[in-house]
């Protein structure tokens, strides 16, 4: 069972800019299987939040149901969390975001949670451009219900029981691009150097930021023939770019070779620096992103990196023209029209 880790700060540990130690971003001890990719993603989230000096109570974490959806308990104990129902986290996050536009929302889901039962809600969260980071911990199977194939399992991928998947996979990255998500990335749970900056950048993105993280299930989908196993992913991974994230106010120290780096400014002044591996890569070009994604699929490669970013997207609150004060902070004075107005309204029904 989960329990709280002892809070002990080594004297040499450093506080971040808002005065928190890295341990302040941790959660209760994970009950997932040892070696589960999901735990590495949790740890990347801890890193990212600590490094960008995010105040834990300014973030709310939400999830659906699944092994992946349990993880919000394993990071950011000082943040409110909401483990909702299977496949419906997007709607809960949408409502939460409407109530308070000032918080940061992190949604955690699984491939079953998003690509099957929750597909409808996922699609509409993208369409509405909810201001949130949406991470899918993608293991190609339903971990919590003992390893059934999910809709992201690749065609021909072999499950632990030895059967071959006869259906084509739903590629959530391709879908998010198609739906005009303003931030689309893919990473691998085992690649912290890519994943941590990607999460940091996503947290600073002003709209819907989607990250598909390949995250092997060591218990049910790490066998030979599975295309979501550690060994398969390591052998077939190809990165579009090396990514770094520079928070606002921090001097840009990252130095990339001329002609290979692209710098992108985010809404709060933070910057993403991308070092391109593919020489003609430009993450602001969606058409190209789709093209490379498709090409890599043809070649049997798993393309990772930040595929697309549009820093100018119109947020949901902007679309709704809501007041800048969070709706949950409005008082009766702001909201109730009062009895004299009601007298006028009554007259319209006489």
């Amino acid at each position: 069972m989960s329990y709280i880790k002892p809070q002990f700060h080594h004297p040499e540990l450093k506080k971040n800019k808002v005065g928190y130690y890295k341990t302040d971003y941790e959660g209760v001890i994970s009950t997932l299987c040892a070696g589960c990719g999901h735990d590495s993603i949790s740890s990347a989230i801890v890193h990212a939040c600590y490094e960008i000096s995010l105040e834990p109570h300014r973030l709310a974490k939400l999830s659906g149901i699944g092994c992946s959806s349990k993880t919000p308990a394993y990071f950011l104990s000082n943040s409110h969390g909401f483990n909702s129902v299977h496949g419906r986290m997007p709607s809960v996050a949408t409502g939460a975001g409407l109530a308070n536009r000032d918080l940061i929302y992190m949604g955690i889901s699984g491939d079953g949670d998003t690509a099957s039962i929750g597909m409808g809600q996922f699609v509409h969260a993208v369409r509405r451009n909810i201001n949130m980071v949406y991470i899918v911990m993608n293991n190609g199977c339903y971990g919590l219900t003992k390893g059934q194939d999910s809709a992201t399992a690749d065609f021909g991928s072999i499950s632990k029981s030895g059967s071959e998947n006869p259906y084509t996979a739903i590629d959530l990255v391709g879908l998010a691009l198609e739906l005009n998500a303003g931030f689309v990335g893919r990473s691998f749970s085992g690649d912290k150097s890519q994943l941590v900056p990607m999460i940091k950048a996503a947290l600073s993105h002003p709209g819907f930021a989607f990250i598909d993280v390949i995250s092997p299930c060591v218990t049910f989908n790490n066998n030979q023939g599975s295309t979501k196993s550690y060994s398969y992913v390591r052998d077939h991974i190809e990165a579009t770019s090396v990514l770094d994230f520079v928070p606002f106010e921090e001097e840009i120290k990252v130095d990339y070779e001329d002609g290979t780096s692209a710098e992108l400014e985010l809404f709060n002044g933070s910057k993403i620096v991308l070092s391109k591996i593919s020489s003609h890569w430009d993450p602001r070009n969606k058409i190209l992103a789709k093209k490379y994604l498709n090409e890599s699929k043809e070649n049997g490669q798993i393309l990772t990196g930040l595929f697309y970013i549009d820093t100018e997207t119109e947020s949901f609150h902007k679309k709704l023209n809501t007041v800048t004060t969070p709706l949950n902070k409005l008082s009766k004075n702001d909201l109730c029209p009062g009895s004299s107005k009601l007298t006028d309204i009554n007259k319209t029904f006489m």
């Binding site: 069972m1 989960s2 209760v28 105040e55 834990p56 109570h57 300014r58 709310a60 939400l62 919000p72 308990a73 104990s77 000082n78 943040s79 409110h80 969390g81 909401f82 483990n83 909702s84 129902v85 419906r88 997007p90 709607s91 809960v92 996050a93 949408t94 409502g95 939460a96 975001g97 409407l98 109530a99 308070n100 000032d102 918080l103 409808g120 809600q121 699609v123 509409h124 709704l320 023209n321 809501t322 007041v323 800048t324 709706l327 949950n328 409005l330 009766k332 702001d334 909201l335 109730c336 029209p337 009062g338 009895s339 107005k341 009601l342 309204i345 009554n346 029904f349 006489m350």
Partner: protein, 608 residues
């Protein structure tokens, strides 16, 4: 025909084709009667279709203020050839059929026992208006004029209503007046008027308005401070959403910035709608949804989450005819059980059950207080008849000194002062209701993990059966607390001692009131129990215990309220006798009267 006039007591039905603009003409007709000081209700009987099918608009005028549906239609204004044959059959013996005699009536349609009055509606409108659209629209006003003259309505009042209606489109006033006069003059020049059923001014509408329940509900949510509504279109609840949006646009836009102090979201389905509402309430905003039976069915999983994770939600269910898609445009009270115990596992949900639009307004506001106070989902249970039809009702009122009850929420200061460990599900006050915190309130205190899985008092996951059971028991205790927070049943004892009772709820209020008077006139005295909410207040069982038999009026097939009473209050089933109506039309006083007055238990009871 030699006749004695019957003043201010009639049912008049307009038979139209939907999509032809008759609705607004009919509404002007009803409104004019209201403005003449007459108690009036109007019921729309409409198809689940946009254009071309029969639709009826039934207006009841009752000086005595009986506003339920009544059997026996005194006048039918037959404007729809499709339904003409049936309409002729539906006129009460001695009544009137007002029809369009631009075309000849088949001989075999004729009836000897009713009066036929022909008005050349199509002919007159064709002669006076050019476009086909205008001919169709003004034909409606022509018949309003003719009927108004036949029943002796005050013409100036109708003109006043027309003027008001077209305040912002003044151009339309003269042609409407012209159409009205065409109808009036035709009657004056060609017919004997007034007919037997006629009206005269009265003063029975002082302090009253005429409004539909859904508008009052939407407005109630605005007054209650709801800042978010998420919904998915479904008849008959859609107009709750429209009303909320309409009044928000009027009353909730910041005059300085032009920005909205509300969010109005048409969700992708009902699952998403309630998911958003749960998310917003969890995050400290007042949010609600409105739907009907099929939507509630879809929302079931989330309803259980709200119950178990203790998140306030206001869910408005405007009931329609079920099961499945059922009769989407007809009224029923058939979701009583499915709402009371919605979702899997042991669950129970408070339901507020208004009977009038005024109560829709008040109970909607109450629902938000109750949901936040008791941290659970609250149903507002209305029906199509209440929601979509205009009813005469008390003016809406609001007490400005009344504060919103936001329930047990720990704010930053309270958390700061707190020395003990925060326990989200700790029963600190011994009322079953714990304290909650809103995300973002305090940097280091009050954060917890909300989940629909079993957890301990500190919101930590556990599969310990004892801890789970203890939590379920606390939820039962909370239920007892809620009992004192919901509106009590209204008991109307008879002047005479009696062992017979009648229990009803929601829109059955109207016919039940009338039926009681009919019964009294026949020497049958009854005690009335008007249920206003679930859980049942203590006076329900106390009153039933004193009676031998109680007739339970239910507008569903299975006597759902009766079942709920037996189940919750452990009442001897023999004592509760169902009076049912489930054909989709609102139950009538005649039906209630007939079933009760002819029931054999009356003899048994009076033997005491």
């Amino acid at each position: 025909m030699e006749q004695e006039s019957l003043f201010n007591d009639m049912v008049i039905r307009f038979a139209n084709v939907n999509g032809t603009g008759s609705a607004s003409a009919n509404e002007m007709f009803a409104k004019s009667l209201f403005k003449m000081g007459l108690p009036v209700t109007a019921k729309n009987i409409f198809p689940s279709n946009i254009q071309g099918l029969p639709t009826w608009y039934e207006v009841r005028i009752s000086e005595k203020g009986y506003l339920g549906r009544r059997e026996g239609i005194d006048i039918i204004v037959a404007v729809n050839p499709q339904s003409l044959e049936q309409d002729i059959k539906d006129v009460k013996s001695g009544g009137y059929l007002i029809y369009d005699n631009s075309k000849l009536l088949y001989d075999n349609y004729k009836r000897e026992d009713i009066n036929f009055i022909g008005i050349p509606m199509i002919e007159m409108s064709a002669q006076n208006y050019n476009s086909a659209r205008h001919q169709q629209l003004f034909k409606n006003i022509i018949y309003v004029g003719a009927v108004a003259c036949l029943i002796n309505m005050d013409i100036d009042t109708i003109k006043e209503v027309i003027t008001e209606q077209f305040k912002s489109k003044e151009k339309l006033i003269p042609p409407n007046f012209k159409a009205l006069d065409l109808g009036i003059n035709y009657v004056r020049e060609n017919l004997n008027y007034p007919i037997k059923y006629c009206v005269k001014k009265s003063n029975k509408t002082d302090g009253k308005i005429i409004i539909d329940g859904n508008t009052a509900t939407g407005l109630g949510a605005v007054y209650a401070g709801a800042t978010m509504m998420a919904w998915y279109p479904i008849t008959p609840s859609t107009s709750v959403a429209s009303a909320f949006e309409k009044y928000c646009k009027k009353l909730r836009v910041d005059p300085e910035t032009g920005k909205n102090k509300y969010a109005f979201i048409q969700a992708e389905d009902e699952l998403a709608a309630i998911g958003m509402v749960i998310g917003a309430n969890w995050n400290g905003a007042r949010a609600f949804t409105a739907t009907s039976g099929p939507g509630v069915s879809l929302m079931n999983e989330f309803i259980g989450l709200s119950y178990f994770a203790e998140i306030p939600v206001v869910l408005i269910n405007v009931q329609r005819g079920g099961p499945s898609t059922g009769m989407p445009t007809r009224s029923q009270q058939a979701d009583v059980i499915s709402c009371a115990y919605a979702s899997h596992g042991d669950t129970k949900h408070p339901m507020l059950i208004p009977s009038t639009p005024t109560e829709c307004f008040e109970y909607t506001a109450k629902a938000f207080d109750l949901a936040e106070r008791s941290q659970t989902l609250v149903f507002l249970l209305t029906d199509l008849d209440l929601g979509m039809n205009n009813h005469l009702t008390d003016e809406l009122s609001w007490d400005d000194t009344q504060e919103y009850d936001r329930g047990k929420v720990l704010d930053e200061e309270m958390l700061e002062r707190m020395t003990e460990k925060f326990g989200r599900y700790l029963d600190v006050d011994d009322d079953g209701i714990p304290y909650r915190t809103i995300p973002g309130t305090h940097p280091t205190k009050g954060a917890y993990f909300t989940r629909g899985t079993s957890r301990d008092e500190y919101a930590k996951y556990t599969e310990d059966g004892k801890v789970y059971a203890k939590n379920m028991d606390r939820l039962s205790k909370k239920w007892d607390t809620i009992k004192a927070l919901v509106p009590s049943a209204r008991i109307h004892s008879s002047d005479q001692s009696t062992k017979i009772g009648m229990l009803y709820y929601g829109t059955s209020f109207y016919p039940s009131t009338e039926a009681t008077d009919m019964l009294t006139d026949h020497g049958i005295h009854i005690t009335k129990i008007e249920i206003k909410a679930f859980p049942f207040s203590d006076n329900v069982k106390e009153t039933i215990d004193k009676l031998d038999f109680v007739f339970v009026v239910d507008q569903n097939r299975d006597g759902q309220m009766r079942t709920l009473l037996i189940n919750e209050l452990n009442i001897d089933p023999h004592k509760l006798i169902s009076v049912l109506n489930y054909d989709g039309t609102p139950i009538t006083a005649d039906k209630i009267f007939k079933e009760i007055s002819s029931h054999k238990v009356l003899d048994l009871a009076t033997q005491n």
